[in-house]
Chain length 350, copies 2
């Protein structure tokens, strides 16, 4: 294999716990407001407009690839996007996150949700994936993604973001049959959506079950884990590695390891070696730098990156990432610095 | 010992991992807006007024004792209260939490903070403790408390509540000498404040390091743990058990167990047996029902309570509590139901 081919394969090899020339790196929200190139496009288009125009979505997806030197691209989209063709009225209020104008709270609301094939429901996402694969031309692999069923359900039920998921949990506890129906419908949609992305060219997929850490393990195991397993089981035969990620999941890691996903994402609230041991070494892990560290001086960044690599211990199956998405005001040079440092140190010690 | 004496001792015995007749229960924020009696007083007085008037603070502290049948009282106060005599201008905006009008962000800001003995700085808290002890007359023990240094620092630096502790972490990373000076001053104040509460009659003390779970373990160990150890070391010789509590701490539990505290509080995001194993069985644990479960039907509440008791396994050293404070709209009858259920089931199986 030529060096280029090795570099292009780093991420997928690490997902499969195969040896790599150096630790692959990518960043959640690597295409985003911290980059001037992205802000220039956002100045002229809303988030939903970018998602609806495959050329724009592809352009934004590609922006961080050369700029940062990351080892994977992730398609630009939003986890709530596939809800729109299900019948959900979604807008993004400036600075306040998503607003769902027809929240889902009853059996009738769930019954009204329409599940269609992604080629019909979200063709622009699939077209953007095809465009990006063409543009990338094998330089780095492309990751597709979807929201996890708990996380998506929480937006649907709360009508937007939430601090304590009060309505979500109340529905889960008081109307378990409505909850199960919603989970079933979201799982079905999500499995089809991810499969469609893989058919369109996504070479790995990540389930952003971002807020599932709000649940007690017993509730997670009873009310969400079966749905995650169904999604992974439906997608896994297509051959693209599956990553499952959430924040605040230190207590859920042993259960998250049983979804069947190839890779478990760790947030920064658990040490990487501790988290990997809890996941089990028969899975790869992804993470786990605190996004706020990128606001610190270089010596703090270096100390944290080296600590994570030391805890990974050169074991095959570590993908370097943040513990959550890049924050809007993050200095781009610090992000680049992390990519170079991870590559350099892990190549030397690997 | 008569039955009354056994019941009165349950909580303190469990803190020391001694056998009990049944599992002791109390609730964080057990005196609060979910109780009509409390709302009646709050309708006429602000939170700071209640704290400033020992008779009112004592009355509010005692409200849940007979109403709920809990095994401990906790003095009514606020973790930010001892900041006022340090020179901090604090108000509570309606529904928006605390506002600090002169945030602490520089070496000069830290130097300006005044540490005094609690008898001089917060005499009303100490007087309220004396009044409550007198009124309780040995029925149940009284818990004193203070905020943990990270949590209090986060309010001081951010100027109020925070979602991602951006300014706090930025200061920690960019101006570690300012951070250390602030930690030293807060630790000194907190140790004196807790010691004063114990001298006034508090029979146990809890450190509410509520938001420390926002930190990566390496940052916790480097930037906060030494301060927690200093506080516990200063207070422990006074003989009152020390409880340390935070939310989102599943990844920090092994480190939190090294503070020297007798009891480690667990939030609901980790199973109690998993959390206790991570803490180590040479410490007692407190927790860990999701406060939102109290909004569910009785069969959900019962399922969760029984699961927690089963995971505690009758091992001496479990104090039943929520994983965080009682929420304002919680049905009081459900809280009472939990107390009775815990007592009944643990007495039968203990």
């Amino acid at each position: 294999m030529a060096d280029g081919a090795i570099a292009a394969d780093r991420f997928l090899r690490a997902c499969r716990r195969q040896p790599v020339d150096c630790t692959p790196v990518w960043f959640m929200r690597q295409a985003g407001r911290y980059m001037a190139e992205y802000r220039a496009i956002r100045a002229r288009h809303t988030l939903l407009e970018i998602c609806a125009q495959p050329e724009l979505a592809a352009e934004v997806t590609l922006q961080p690839i050369d700029r940062l030197g990351v080892d994977a691209a992730i398609i630009f989209a939003d986890i709530l996007l596939p809800l729109v063709p299900m019948g959900i009225e979604l807008t993004f209020a400036a600075g306040e996150g998503p607003v769902i104008h027809n929240p889902v709270r009853t059996a009738a609301d769930v019954a009204a949700l329409v599940v269609r094939e992604p080629e019909e429901a979200t063709p622009s996402v699939l077209e953007a994936i095809r465009l990006v694969r063409h543009e990338l031309d094998g330089r780095v692999p492309l990751i597709g993604f979807a929201g996890g069923p708990f996380t998506v359900a929480s937006y649907l039920i709360e009508g937007g973001s939430s601090r304590d998921y009060r309505r979500t949990k109340a529905l889960m506890y008081r109307a378990p049959e409505v909850w199960e129906a919603l989970m079933a419908k979201l799982s079905d949609m999500t499995a089809r959506y991810l499969a469609g992305q893989i058919r369109a060219g996504a070479q790995a997929v990540q389930l952003f079950e971002s807020w599932v850490g709000a649940l007690a393990p017993c509730d997670f195991e009873r009310r969400v884990l079966p749905s995650l397993r169904r999604i992974v089981a439906a997608v896994a035969p297509l051959g693209a590695p599956v990553i499952v990620f959430g924040t605040g999941t230190a207590g859920l890691l042993p259960a998250l390891a049983t979804t069947g996903a190839d890779v478990v994402g760790l947030d920064w609230r658990i040490a990487l070696d501790d988290g990997w041991a809890r996941v089990g070494h028969n899975r790869a892990v992804q993470g786990n730098l605190d996004p706020l560290v990128l606001f610190g001086p270089r010596e703090e960044i270096e100390r944290h990156v080296l600590d994570i690599l030391r805890r990974a211990g050169g074991r095959p199956g570590h993908i370097f990432n943040l513990g959550h998405g890049i924050l809007p005001e993050t200095p781009v040079d610090n992000v680049r610095f992390v990519v170079e440092l991870v590559h350099e140190v892990s190549a030397r010690e690997g």
